[in-house]
């Protein structure tokens, strides 16, 4: 039933298309006629007239073509709405592509890029005039590199094996190694159920020590070792201070492994932090703190104020 109607529609459409072509041809003829002017310049006197009549003829052709096209278009209406077509919107194909996540990712990256670019341009602007200084620092760095010892330039494998050796040496002290900052190793030492210490190494030299309680978290939320935050307990803050001084006491740039081993031996003495009374006053508590100092040589327990007499 729909077939004959369809064929008339199609023939109408094709004649309309043909008319459009004709219209375009006649229009272009108008313009070419105008641009070329007269072909042979002989009849100059009548030239204007000839040109005008030619233009008129061409315009009439355009007009008739246009009205023909209009006539065809007038009895051809827009096609009736196709109901199924509106369902194209619900086409699940678009849903099937993870467009959203990709878009989100792109936005995030664009934002990051923008932020970083802004920051770096800010920094670059600030340092624009200091270019000569940076080269100065570079020269100094070269100098120090030449002068400094090589004890920090130990390959990570060597550090690992030293640490493993120490880990095996004590059965109630475990040491784990992470390298969050590239070459430098960060040791997390868990001493029995008494304390946890974070030690930052450069090569085998100790750079930083911080001591916390066994029940305190040495890892941050992003699983990185928390190097900076102090313990919430006074006793461990005190032990941290003492550990820093011990680190300096044992410092030996030429024999870094020996220094590290001595430091670990000293740290291991804290296993009895709460259970050993002071070697001098024989009490547990002075100023509300247990004996937080360990003698460097004999590893005896002392209160901070009792130790001066022992040395």
């Amino acid at each position: 039933m729909a077939a004959p109607a369809d064929t008339t529609v199609f023939s109408d459409l094709s004649t309309a298309l043909r008319k459009v072509q004709e219209l375009r041809a006649s229009v272009s003829r108008v313009f070419t006629g105008l641009s070329e002017g007269l072909k042979d310049g002989t009849l100059k006197a009548n030239g204007d007239k000839v040109l005008l009549s030619q233009l008129e003829k061409n315009l009439l052709a355009v007009n008739s073509d246009f009205s023909d096209l209009q006539k065809i278009a007038s009895h051809h209406h827009a096609p009736p709405p196709h109901y199924n077509a509106s369902l194209i919107v619900l086409d699940p194909v678009t849903d099937r592509h993870p467009l959203f996540t990709q878009l989100l990712q792109t936005h995030k990256w664009a934002n990051k890029l923008h932020e970083h670019a802004a920051l770096s341009s800010h920094l670059l602007q600030q340092n624009l005039l200091k270019r000569s200084h940076t080269s100065g620092i570079g020269a100094m760095a070269k100098k120090t590199r030449r002068l400094g010892s090589s004890s920090h330039a130990i390959p990570p494998q060597a550090v690992d094996s030293v640490v493993q050796g120490m880990d095996a040496m004590y059965n109630n002290m475990s040491i784990t190694v992470t390298r969050p900052f590239g070459q430098a190793a960060v040791l997390v030492v868990t001493l029995a159920k008494t304390l946890r210490a974070v030690i930052v190494l450069r090569g085998l030299l100790i750079e930083w020590v911080s001591v916390k309680g066994f029940n305190e978290d040495v890892y941050k939320e992003n699983k990185q070792v928390d190097i900076w935050s102090p313990s919430k307990y006074a006793v461990y803050r005190k032990v941290s201070d003492h550990a820093s001084s011990a680190m300096l006491h044992f410092y030996h740039p030429l024999k870094p492994e020996l220094a590290l081993r001595s430091f670990m031996l000293w740290l291991h003495a804290y296993v009895s932090l709460f259970s050993t009374p002071c070697h001098k006053c024989n009490k547990f508590l002075v100023d509300n703190l247990p004996p937080t100092w360990r003698d460097m040589r004999f590893l005896d327990a002392y209160h901070e104020n009792c130790r001066t007499h022992s040395m």
Partner: protein, 229 residues
């Protein structure tokens, strides 16, 4: 080991020394002619002399639920709250099995009231002051039983926060307690630590010890009943 101090006169109170980490319970005879409130105040004064500062109040309370009598296996559930863990509820069974749960657990008990019914006059509450002194937390409070608001005893809790194993800081805690309670005998441990001396401390350890003391208070309260009637 808590012992009721006779129960002959109401002027005698139990003083329970609860040490977190090194937790032990002591009986401590109050000097003749002193009231419980006076004992608490004297203790508090001594702690303040040490240099400790009051940080807040504390409460530990306990409700008991039991099965109906017709059931074959009688079972009790003790529901405890500790102000140190304000969003937590501790449920302890007869076996000592302790469930640590959100405060919402109270509402669950309501849903099983067909099976477990709240015991009347079994509520025990410890209330008092919480002191901080360096790494120590000291709590001194009085214990109240059931509907009566009368004084049933004194409870002292000492917590040394940095340590996690009881056996390690035994001597240290003992020395510390001696500094403000020189007259008390500090050599008995609660049953709780007898088996868990080397375990890592958890909040339920505190609560289980409170329950142990509370049960002793209840027993001594019952034993005090006959002479009063």
């Amino acid at each position: 080991m808590p012992q009721s101090c006779g129960g002959r006169s109401l002027n005698t109170f139990n003083i329970l020394l609860t040490l977190l980490l090194l937790i032990r319970v002591l009986s401590y005879p109050v000097p003749e002619g002193k009231s419980g409130q006076q004992t608490v105040e004297a203790l508090q004064k001594q702690i303040e002399v040490l240099g400790a500062t009051v940080s807040s109040n504390f409460t530990v309370d306990c409700e008991t639920y039991g099965t109906y009598q017709q059931t074959s296996q009688p079972q009790h559930i003790n529901i405890l709250h500790n102000s140190e863990q304000p969003a937590t509820c501790f449920a302890v069974l007869d076996s000592g099995n302790c469930l640590v749960a959100d405060l919402q657990f109270d509402a669950l008990m309501n849903k099983i009231k067909m099976f477990y019914i709240q015991k009347k006059n079994a509520r025990v509450e410890a209330k008092g002051l919480r002191y901080e002194y360096g790494d120590f937390i000291i709590k001194v409070g009085s214990v109240v039983l059931g509907q009566s608001t009368s004084f049933k005893g004194v409870i002292v809790e000492v917590e040394y926060m940095p340590a996690v194993v009881v056996s390690e800081c035994f001597g240290l805690m003992r020395e510390f307690m001696f500094s403000f309670m020189p007259t008390s005998v500090i050599d008995a441990t609660t049953n709780h630590w007898k088996t868990k001396n080397d375990a890592i401390y958890a909040p339920q350890d505190t609560v289980l010890q409170y329950l142990e003391h509370f049960n002793n208070f209840r027993k001594s309260a019952v034993s005090m009943m006959p002479p009063m009637q």
